[in-house]
Symmetry: C2
Subunit: 328 residues, 2 copies
Amino acid sequence: MTTPWIRAFAPASVSNVGPGFDTFGFAVEGMGDLVAARTSSIPGARLLEITGDDGSLPREAAKNTAGIAASQVLDRIAALDGRDKANGEDGVGVELRLEKGMPLASGLGSSAASAVAAAVAVNAALGGHLSQETLLHCAIEGERIACGAAHGDNAAPSLYGGFVLVRGKGTPRIDPLPVPEGLSCAILRPHVAVQTGAARALLGDHIPLANAITQWGHAAALVAGLFSGDYELISSAIHDVVAEPVRREWVPGFEAIQRAALESGALGCSLSGSGPSLFGLCRSQEEAQNTLAAMQQALGSATDLRGDGFVSVVGAQGARVLAAGEKP
Amino acid sequence: MTTPWIRAFAPASVSNVGPGFDTFGFAVEGMGDLVAARTSSIPGARLLEITGDDGSLPREAAKNTAGIAASQVLDRIAALDGRDKANGEDGVGVELRLEKGMPLASGLGSSAASAVAAAVAVNAALGGHLSQETLLHCAIEGERIACGAAHGDNAAPSLYGGFVLVRGKGTPRIDPLPVPEGLSCAILRPHVAVQTGAARALLGDHIPLANAITQWGHAAALVAGLFSGDYELISSAIHDVVAEPVRREWVPGFEAIQRAALESGALGCSLSGSGPSLFGLCRSQEEAQNTLAAMQQALGSATDLRGDGFVSVVGAQGARVLAAGEKP
């Protein structure tokens, strides 16, 4: 017995956002992943097809962030139903198709978007009984098992949308933060790959207390700026003295791109997640277009790299089930 | 030529406030220092008298936080007037009387209150030409030279009042944060002395990155809670995983007092500054009275120490010149 395909879209996201390493994230529009799911009489989760990844993602569901998130959802639904073995013989199965709509290893939450889209699609295909909070945990488990680490700072904004504060590992607490009207971002992705795990290891286990104090001062200031809609205060807070100084070494032309963004009027500019993508924060979409052009020009002048970019509101809509024929 | 005595009051303050080490501070009411100043034909700052300190503070102006802050103000006014040598033969002098209204080494910003009161009194005695920002820098210099370190997280709330975010050393940037109606604190001071310098050295130069992430997540959440007036969110944020685990060892009965505060309904409880005072954050003055009683009882049960305490609004009025005969 199969149900019709249910499609869910989950957006890309910018995490860290300057001072909020592992703590802040916001959803963007215009980029994300699609997962189609339908029930199957074969227990467990099966990945029928992945498109848009140039064949680079594992096809085996148990090794794929979307497949694992789907399996987690099956387990949770089974637990709700009082069944012990979700993926056993008495279990329900799902078939998945994953359509990658965003590049891998870009710093834009690619694995989180796949996991979130899978969790939302599978839950919807099975009747939609799980809470958003449970879906978040399923998605984070998908990321964690497939990638070795997950902090929720991409999965939470991708699922809920908006700008979120993430605290705690495993089952993080999520609090939404307001976004001033018009706040937008330019995102530039230089065509180099950064592996999140390696980027993280480089940071080391300890940081100078003085840097930590600077960082939490700016994290506090960014929240104050978001609540008060004070762009100057937001601008004063977009500084990362912990991860950026290490990770920018991996992004050729980083200083030139950052300088170009600030000179074009951006409120701030830093790495999105562990990079190589950079975000420039701007007062409006129009300013973000100017900033993007300046960042692209700087990339071209300072390096031999190519790059692509786009402009988005800060804190776009989160993951959602699409109607038949609807485009994300 | 002498002018009449001008008296200024500067309140005690709670710094750190859980997650905001060197970053958050708020003024309290009912405790603080008084400085009286009048001009003198003898250049420089002279301390005529200190009361309320049991003779423990240096009487020499150049070694006393109030005396140094006063001297800084003289220098700044001289610079405004185009005079090179503020304290030289062509300079104006001031005489000071310092009335300590709060205990030393209590974690309640005693040296900051003296410095702020002196800066405000001397500026007023000389015509009040300096900005609040300049007075803050004079007070911080007073603290820094007399005590070896100053971060502004006591001086800024003592001068400006309210709840403030402090970023940067030397000339820190200060941003005010809103305080929800009714937010109050119970403050208990166990009668043991903690020297700020020694308390700081114990923290070491580096901290685990994981703790730093926890800390800035809570710092961000506390700001979100203050803006939204969400007491549950504020409560979730009053945790200090950086300084408290080290410094609580110096405060006998800390765990028992903290537990009693939380069980009595406090939103959170941690050390004020480097201790030994503790604050309990509460929804109202009435709740703060209950919390204070619980904290006092716990101190008495768990230790042989005595302690004194009081209740205050969070974010009281800042430093001010008093009218003749006015009590602070």
